[in-house]
Amino acid sequence: MAQNEITKEEIMAVFPTVAETMADALGCDVDDIKLDVSLIEGLDAESIDFLDMVFRLERAFKIKIPRGKIVENARGTLSEAEFEQKGIVTETGLAQLRAYLSEVPAERFGTPMKVKDIPRLFTPETFCKLVISAQREAA
């Protein structure tokens, strides 16, 4: 199912549990977990925290989230070569990424955008979408 079909209502339905899970993983107050805060720049999350968050979300929602699923979801129907070339997101890929991460302000996308910097864009809303996608796939 296309990412843009995820509704705000669906996101808000899972957000409280996502926020609680993230706060536990990051050791911060649940009130610090705003829907649109950058996890890396706003909450000092590191790669192991992403691993931890996904691990905890899998348990909290009883879902399976394969590693790298966010980027895979973001790529959508594009092939890897269409999405990125030599570690740089292509123009087509960037348009797809902007559509997938519609909650992220345009100025936060780099130009050029390195694939390794994509996690810098992630917010709690990104993970809400990830959970909803996984729930749909499991249904």
């Binding site: 050791g27 590191e46 192991i48 691993l51 931890d52 691990f55 905890r56 590693r67």
Partner: protein
């Protein structure tokens, strides 16, 4: 590196008695009789090593797991030199990227240590060890088993007390040795200070902090009962100078926040819960 230390200086599985690939494993480890002590963190290490063998075998020794997340560790009782540990792990998931597992160590029917919600990233095995040597060792552990009594103990790391705000926080400096026999086993191709040795030092600091609390009843001593949110953020190389921290947790009387930093960067975090028991 002395090859005699490989599979000896920091190896805590003597035999793998049962293994269902990707599902579960059982094993045994005899704690050498002539050691002065055998800390609970090394019991947890034994469980983790059994999980590692099960995971490596499952992926054909392409990858090996490294310590990353241990969300729940319960310390039930101490073990003594000469005890035989029965080890068990239940593999929740395992592929070329991660292994998730739970596990336990028992002495007879008594639980010693329990682990739950543990996750280790699988890294290319050849960065750490020779795949053929691991496969050969695995065959030995699955067969007749390794010769027991190989572990000779680990010298206590150099820990120097630092800042202390009574009832609030305590720090210490831990100097990871530049050379030690266990580096030849952990790991032969890439020496890494074992996470469980760091956790052991952190627990000691946490218990020291708890023991100095003004409200501790006379005649009681703090003992570790549970460790949660263990997160290893990076490898610790030989010779690294670590700043360990123990800090009172808000809203929980017997919980301590533990931290370890190298060059101002967090390398490990955990939460320790303790109980006060009547003691010396």
């Amino acid at each position: 590196m002395q090859m005699t230390d490989h599979f000896a200086a920091f190896s805590f599985v003597d035999r793998i008695t049962e293994l269902v690939p990707g599902v579960r494993a059982r094993g045994v480890y005899a704690v050498p009789r002539d050691l002065p002590a055998f800390p609970s963190c090394l019991v947890a290490e034994a469980v983790g090593q059994l999980a590692a063998w099960a995971a490596m075998a499952h992926v054909g020794f392409r990858g090996r797991p490294v310590a990353a997340l241990a969300n729940e560790t319960r310390f039930h009782r101490d073990v003594a030199p000469g005890d035989t540990l029965l080890l068990g792990v239940e593999i929740e998931s395992c592929d070329d990227e991660t292994v998730a597992y739970a596990g336990w160590a028992k002495r007879g029917d008594e639980l010693v240590v329990e682990l739950a919600d543990c996750l280790g990233p699988m890294l290319p095995v050849e960065e750490f060890d020779a795949p053929a040597a691991l496969a050969e060792r695995y065959a030995l552990l699955r067969g007749a088993g390794a010769e027991p009594g190989r572990y000779r103990g680990v010298a206590a790391p150099d820990v120097v007390p630092g800042d202390h705000v009574r009832g609030e926080s305590l720090t210490a400096t831990l100097r990871v040795p530049a050379a030690a026999p266990f580096f030849a086993d952990h790991f032969p191709r890439r020496a890494v200070f074992p996470a469980t040795l760091l956790l052991d030092a952190q627990i000691r600091l946490g218990l020291q902090f708890a023991g100095e609390a003004a409200d501790r009843p006379a005649g009681t001593v703090p003992v570790p009962v549970r460790m949660t949110h263990v997160k290893m953020r990076s490898f610790i190389a030989p010779g690294t100078v670590l700043t360990l921290g123990a800090e009172r947790a808000n809203a929980h009387a017997h919980r301590i926040m533990l931290s370890a930093q190298a060059n101002g960067k967090s390398v490990a975090t955990a939460r320790l819960e303790y109980a006060l028991r009547k003691g010396a």
